[in-house]
C-alpha cells in the first residue's frame, strides 16, 4: 500500500499545495494504486499555540501515510515524521495537489534529509 499526503489549501486535487506543514489547512491523502483521495482537516493543529507540526505528523501517521509532499517542514515536525517513518518531499508550494502528485509519480521529488525551516 502506498499512500501519500499532500498539504493542501482545500479538499480536492485541484487545490493549491499549502506551503506550511504543521499549520496547513488540511491534507489530501492519495492512494497511489487506486488514485482515491481522502481529505484530513488540520484545523485542530492550526489553532495550537505550539506543537502544530508534531500534531500534524500524528494526524497523517494515523492515516497510514508513508510519504508527505509539502512546502516547508520545521525541525520538530521533521523529527516526528521521521519517527513515524514518513518520508518528506519539500519545496512543492505553488503547485496544485494534482501536479505535486504527478511530479512525485514521475520520480522528480527528492526525499528530504532535513528540515527546511527554522524551528519556532
Amino acid at each position: 500500500m502506498n499512500k501519500i499526503a499532500v498539504t493542501s489549501e482545500g479538499p480536492s486535487l485541484d487545490d493549491q499545495v499549502d506551503p506550511r506543514f504543521g499549520r496547513a489547512a488540511g491534507f489530501v491523502v492519495v492512494d497511489l494504486e487506486t488514485m482515491d483521495t481522502q481529505y484530513i482537516d488540520n484545523g485542530q493543529s492550526q489553532v495550537m499555540a505550539q506543537g502544530a507540526g508534531i500534531q500534524a505528523a500524528e494526524l497523517i501517521a494515523r492515516a497510514g501515510v508513508n510519504f508527505l509532499l509539502t512546502g516547508y517542514v520545521g525541525p520538530k515536525a521533521f523529527k516526528a515524521l521521521s519517527a513515524a517513518g514518513i518520508k518528506v518531499g519539500q519545496n512543492l508550494e505553488g503547485l496544485t495537489v494534482r501536479d505535486a502528485v504527478a511530479r512525485f509519480k514521475s520520480g522528480r521529488v527528492e526525499i528530504a534529509q532535513a528540515a527546511n525551516r527554522a524551528g519556532r
Binding site: Q50, G51, I54, K76, A80, A83, A84, G85
Partner: protein, 292 residues
Amino acid sequence: MIVSVASGKGGTGKTTVAASLATVWERPVWGVDLDVEEPNLHLFLRPAIAGSETAWMTVPAVEEAKCTYCGACSELCQFKAISVFNQVILTFPEMCHSCGGCLAVCPEKAISPGRRELGEITWGVAGRVEFLAGRLRIGEAMSPPLMRQVKARLEQMLAKGGDAVIDAPPGVSCPAVNAVLDSDVILLVTEPTPFGVYDFKLAWEAFAPLGKPMGAVINRAGLGNDAIYRFCQEKGLPILAEIPYDRSVAEAYARGRIIADLSPGFKETFVALRDKIRALAQPSPSREAAHA
C-alpha cells in the same frame, strides 16, 4: 513589603527607578531583577556576586524498555512535548510546561522526572542593597518558571524581614504579570509620549484586576503632552514621582549611575517616592471608621 516596578512600554525607566528606589530604601532591602530575558539591574547596582546556581525544571524522561506505546501521555499533553508514533516515543523537552501530567498518567511507570535548564539565579551585595537576579538560558522560551524560582528564593529571604524592589520585565504578557503577582504595590513607570501612554493604558488594564495598590512614575516629564496625566486622573491613579526630561539623567544612565545619587534634589525625589509607596501599601482608614 514587595514593590514591583513595571511598565507597559519598554525603555521608560523601570531599571533606573528600581535601582534608585532600592538605594534609598530602608535596610534590609533586596533589589531583584525579574527581567530575566534581559537583566540589567546589576549594571546600575554593581553588586559583588556572592553565589549562583543553575535553575532547572522537570521534563519527562522516558525509559523506552518499559513503554508499551499506549499513547496515554501523548493524548494528555496539550503542548506536544511527548508524542507516540507507532513503536516510537518522542519527547520535545523545550515544549514542556512541566505540568507532570505524563508522569502521572503513564500506566507502565515508564516516565521519570528529567530536567531542562532554565537559566541561572545569582545573588550578592551592592552597598546597602541585597541583590538577587535571574538570567534566562539563551534559547529558553519560557521565563515564568525561572521567575517563580527567583521569587521563591526571595520569599525565603524576606521571611527574616526586609523589603524588596522588583525590576519587572516590560510588556503585559505572562512574564510581566508573573513579576507583579506577589507584590504589595505596583509602580508603573511611563513617559508622556504617545507610545508611553498607549502601553501605559494596556499595563493599567492588565494589572488593575489584581486589585493591588498602584501608582505611576512619569519619567522624561516635560516631553510630549498631558494625555498621561489626564488618564491617571480619570482612573484615580496617583502620580507618585516625576523625573524631568533632562540631559544629566540620560548621561548618568549611560554611565550606569544611579539617578538618586546624582544630586540632593534627585535623592529627595526618590525618598519622597519611597514614602508615598509605603503610604499606598497601608490600607487608608475609611471615613466611616473615623466616625465610629
